[in-house]
């Protein structure tokens, strides 16, 4: 059982919903939003220990949301996820302010492990 609270941001509502159910089954408190605007609203009204952001979001991109989160919530650890491929010869450089970057489909155990690591690394005195 974990006692942290996660905000998941993914425009694939059905995928997000299934992921939320599985993580809640493991005792993790979850909320999700399907776009950047929805995520920012949730951040204004609830406190989270970590945010998981899909790189490709409709409207405001995942990278734009990341920039806002880094500026407005600098203590909130971020994990980015994506099913997106990249241009030939260009990988994805992990931006500043991202703890880790995970490919989709997500390995649930890997996600939980990375979330735990990111939260621990963010604790005062660490």
């Amino acid at each position: 059982m974990s006692d942290f609270r996660v905000l998941l941001v993914d425009d694939e509502a059905e995928l997000a919903s299934a992921l939320v159910e599985r993580l809640e089954y493991r005792g993790i408190a979850m909320d999700y939003a399907t776009d950047g605007a929805g995520a920012l609203k949730r951040l204004q009204t609830s406190a989270y220990d970590i945010i998981v952001i899909d790189l490709k979001l409709p409207g405001m991109s995942g990278e734009e949301l990341l920039r806002i989160v880094n500026t407005s919530y600098p203590r909130l650890p971020v994990i980015m996820i994506t099913g997106h491929g990249f241009e030939e010869g260009r990988g994805y450089e992990k931006p500043a302010g991202v703890y880790d970057f995970l490919p989709k489909p997500l390995d649930l155990n890997e996600l939980i492990k990375k979330m735990n690591e990111a939260i621990k690394a963010n604790e005062p005195g660490h």
């Binding site: 299934a18 599985r22 409709p58 491929g85 489909p105």
Partner: protein
Amino acid sequence: MSPDTDTSHTDLPLHEGLAFTGAITASVTHELNNILGTIDQIAGLLEDLAFTAGQGEPIRPEMMNSYAERINTQTTRGMTLVRQLNAFAHSGDHPETEFDLGNAVENLTGLMRRLAGMQRIELAVTLPDDPVIVRCNPFFLRHLLFLALRGLLASARQKTTLEVALVAREERAMITLQAVREGTPGPIPQPGHLAWLASRLSGEYTEQLDGENIVFCFSIPVLTR
């Protein structure tokens, strides 16, 4: 000089054709990856349910049914995408052939729904009841529509609908793309490519501003109706 021996523009459309194919394939495979990822997570929910049952909890048939329905929904969505991508792949089989223009418009717009959705724009497609048969290169036709749609999407206001309509009138068919514009858009990019494709298709296109809308029209001779 015939179109096939005219090499003055050959390199440009070849590269652009590959880029077009890549853009469509990248978008569709991204969506298929999301579908498979969703099915993977629902399979995980079934595993969790089985684990709970193994601990002595009663099996909940309503949950099983719910998960099965969710998998079916994703499977149907994936099969539609695969069918659309397969039809698109076969559009390059013949440099010239007879085909239903309505099917081609439906195919290309179906493949571009995700790209439009990322811009928060809905695609609404209106097609005639009867087939509209044309004779030309089906791949070039899709490429022309792709360039026009991509240009309109770049100029369109978010949270609006881009309307696509096909109308057949006597000897010509007209495809109209209409979007609500954001600010004052420039012309649709790559007019040289559009003109090249239109000439290869024996068609004509116009692009104009109409109040708040930006309208792209492409007309092409109809073989039979």
